[in-house]
C-alpha cells in the first residue's frame, strides 16, 4: 500500500503504454490520417496532382517526383492514394461514430426501461442483424433517391454520394453496440449507486447520462474502434462494385475498380490501394485489441 493512488484512466493508459503492438498500430494509424489529410500540401511540395488528369504522363515510372508512378490518366498515384484515403478513412470514422451513437441510444433505452420497450427494441435489433448485409447495402446504395422526393441536383452531387454511404453503413451497423450497451445498462441499473441517485430524485435522463453510460464507456470505445475497420472494408467493397463513391470523387475501393482492368499490364496500380486498406484496417484492429486488453479489469494491475 505504498503506491500512490491512480485513477482508473491512468491505470488503463499505463497498460496500453506497455502494449508495444497496440502503440505501434496507433502510430501507423495517426501517420496514415496525417498523411492523407495533408494531401494538398504534399501535392504542392512535389509539384504533382492526384486529381487532374495529364494524358502526356500516363503510367509514368516511379521516380523522385512520382513516388509510386502515375496511373492510367496521368494522375500521381501516391497523392491520389492520399486523396482516396481522405474519403475511406473519414467515412470509417464518421460511420463508426454514427453506429456507436445510434447503438448506444437504442441499447441504453432498452436496458434502462426494460419490459415492452426492451422487447420491441431487441426484436428490431435481431431483425436488423439477420438481414443479409452486403446485398441490402448494395440495394440501399443504389436506391433512386428522387423516388423519395430528393431533387435531381442534390442526388447527383458528390456530397450526397459521400453521406449516403456514411448513413447506410450506420443504419446497418449499430446492432453490436446496442447489444453491448443494453447488457451493461441492465446490470448497472441494479447497482446501489443508481438506486441512491434515484432515491435523491434524479431523472431517468440524468441517471443514464451521469451514472450508467460513463460506466459502460469502455466496451463502446472498443466496439467503435473495431467497427471503423469493418466500415472501411464495407466501403471499399461497395465502391469496388461501383455503387459506393462515384467519380470524380475517389476512395481506395474505387481505385481498385479501375486498376482491376489494367491488372495484366500494370499490376502495381492494383497493389497500392489494397495494401493501403489492409494496413489501415489491420492497424485499427490491433489498436482495438490493445484497448480491449487495457480496459479489461481482470488483467493484472501492473
Amino acid at each position: 500500500m505504498t503506491e500512490a493512488a491512480v485513477s482508473v484512466w491512468q491505470l488503463r493508459w499505463r497498460r496500453l503504454a506497455r502494449d508495444h503492438v497496440a502503440l505501434a498500430a496507433l502510430a501507423v494509424l495517426f501517420t496514415l490520417y496525417a498523411l492523407c489529410f495533408s494531401a494538398s500540401w504534399i501535392e504542392q511540395w512535389f509539384g504533382v496532382t492526384g486529381i487532374d488528369t495529364d494524358l502526356m504522363s500516363r503510367f509514368d515510372p516511379i521516380d523522385a517526383q512520382h513516388w509510386l508512378g502515375s496511373d492510367e490518366a496521368g494522375r500521381d498515384e501516391f497523392t491520389r492514394l492520399l486523396r482516396g484515403g481522405q474519403v475511406s478513412l473519414s467515412i470509417g470514422l464518421f460511420a463508426a461514430l454514427g453506429s456507436s451513437f445510434v447503438g448506444t441510444m437504442i441499447g441504453a433505452t432498452a436496458g434502462y426501461f426494460r419490459g415492452r420497450i426492451d422487447m420491441v427494441l431487441m426484436r428490431f435489433t435481431d431483425f436488423m442483424l439477420a438481414l443479409p448485409a452486403l446485398p441490402v447495402l448494395i440495394i440501399l446504395a443504389a436506391l433512386d433517391l428522387t423516388k423519395l422526393g430528393f431533387s435531381e441536383n442534390f442526388v447527383r452531387s458528390g456530397d450526397a454520394g459521400y453521406w449516403r454511404i456514411v448513413l447506410i453503413v450506420t443504419v446497418l451497423g449499430w446492432t453490436t453496440v446496442a447489444r453491448l450497451v443494453r447488457a451493461a445498462t441492465l446490470s448497472l441499473v441494479e447497482r446501489e449507486f443508481v438506486l441512491a441517485a434515484r432515491a435523491q430524485g434524479a431523472s431517468s435522463w440524468r441517471v443514464l447520462w451521469v451514472h450508467v453510460l460513463p460506466n459502460a464507456v469502455t466496451p463502446i470505445i472498443v466496439a467503435t474502434t473495431l467497427r471503423m475497420g469493418g466500415v472501411i472494408l464495407t466501403e471499399s467493397a461497395l465502391s469496388f462494385l461501383g455503387v459506393g463513391i462515384q467519380p470524380p470523387s475517389t476512395s481506395w475501393g474505387s481505385m481498385l475498380t479501375n486498376a482491376q482492368e489494367l491488372m495484366a499490364s500494370n499490376p502495381l496500380l492494383a497493389v497500392y490501394p489494397g495494401a493501403a486498406i489492409l494496413i489501415a484496417v489491420i492497424a485499427i484492429n490491433f489498436v482495438g485489441d490493445g484497448l480491449q486488453s487495457a480496459f479489461d479489469p481482470r488483467a493484472d494491475p501492473h
Binding site: M122, D126, F127, A130, L131, P132, L134, P135, V136, I138, I139, L140, A142, L143, D144, K147, L148, G229, L233, S236, A237, F240, L241, G242, V243, G253, L256, Q260, M263, A264, P267, A270, V271, P273, G274, I277, L278, V281, I282, I284, N285, F286, D289
Partner: protein, 320 residues
Amino acid sequence: MGRFLASRLTGAGIVLLLKSFVIFALIGLMPGDPIDLMMNANPETTPEQMALLRAMYGLDLPITSRYWTWLTAAMHGDFGYSRIQHRPVLDIIIPALGNTLILTGAAFVISTILAVTLGTIAALKRGSWIDRIINLFAFAGISVPSFWLGLLMIYLFAVRLGWLPAGGMPRPEQGMGGMLAHLVMPVMTLVIVETGGLARYARAAMIEVLGQDYIRTARAKGLTDRRMLVRHALRNALIPVLTLVALQLGGLFSGAALTEAMFAWRGMGRLILEAILGNDYNLALVCLLFVTGTILIANIFADIAYTWLDPRISLGKRRR
C-alpha cells in the same frame, strides 16, 4: 423441445414475412422499373403508352397492393420469372445453390479445422512467438479485403504463372481435376478471410477452459497432457466455437458474393449481386428471402446444438 421448436419457427416465419415486405419495398425504390427498361428497348414509346403499360402490369398501384399480389402468388408456390433470364426463378436458384454449397462447404470445413487447430496451439503456447505469428495471420485475414486478395491471386497464379484457371466454372468433361483446379483460388480466398476471426475465438475459448478448476484437477490426478487436452479442455472449448460455427451455417447458402464475383463462380452470392445490379427485381427478392430464411433456420439450429453440446443449458430458458 416440440414447443420450443414450434414457437421459434413461428417467430422466424413472422420475421421472414416482415423482411419480404421491407425488401420488396426497398427494391421498388431502386432506379428504373420494367416499363423504363421496355422504353429503352423501343425509344418511340409515347408517354401515354407507357402509362397504359404501367396500368396493365399494375405498376401504378400502391406498394402494399403490389406486395399482396406477389405474396398470394408466392404462397401458392409461384415465385415468378426472372426478367433477364426469362426462366422461372426457382430453375435459376437451384443450380446456383448447388455451386455455392460446393464452394462454401469446402471453405467452411477447411477453415473450421484450421481455426480450431491454430487456436488450440496459440492458447497452449500463449505469449510465445508462435502465438504471436498465429495472431498476426489471424488479424491479417480479418483485415484483408477479399476481392483484393482474389485479384492478387488471379494475377499471380493465373496471369503470371498460368497454373490455375482465372475463374469460371469447370466444364463437365474436365472431371474432378477441373473442378479442383477451379476451386483452389476461391476456396483459398474464403479460408484466409474466414479462419482469422474463428481462430481468435477458439484461442480465447481454450484459454478460458485451461484456467478452470477441473483442468487443474485433471492435471493433479496425473493425466497426460494429451489426454487432458482432448478429454477435458478441447471438448469444453469446442462448445462456444461450434455454436459460432453453427450460426455461420446459414451463410453457406448465401454464398460469398465478392469471392464468387471475382472468380466468376456461378453461385448464390454472384446471382444476388447480378440480380440487384441488373435490376432483376423478382430474382433478387426471392434470392434474398431464401438466404434470410436459411440464416433464421441456422440460428434455431445453433440454439439446439448449443443445448445438445452443453447439457447445463435448457431450451426455452436461455436468454439472448
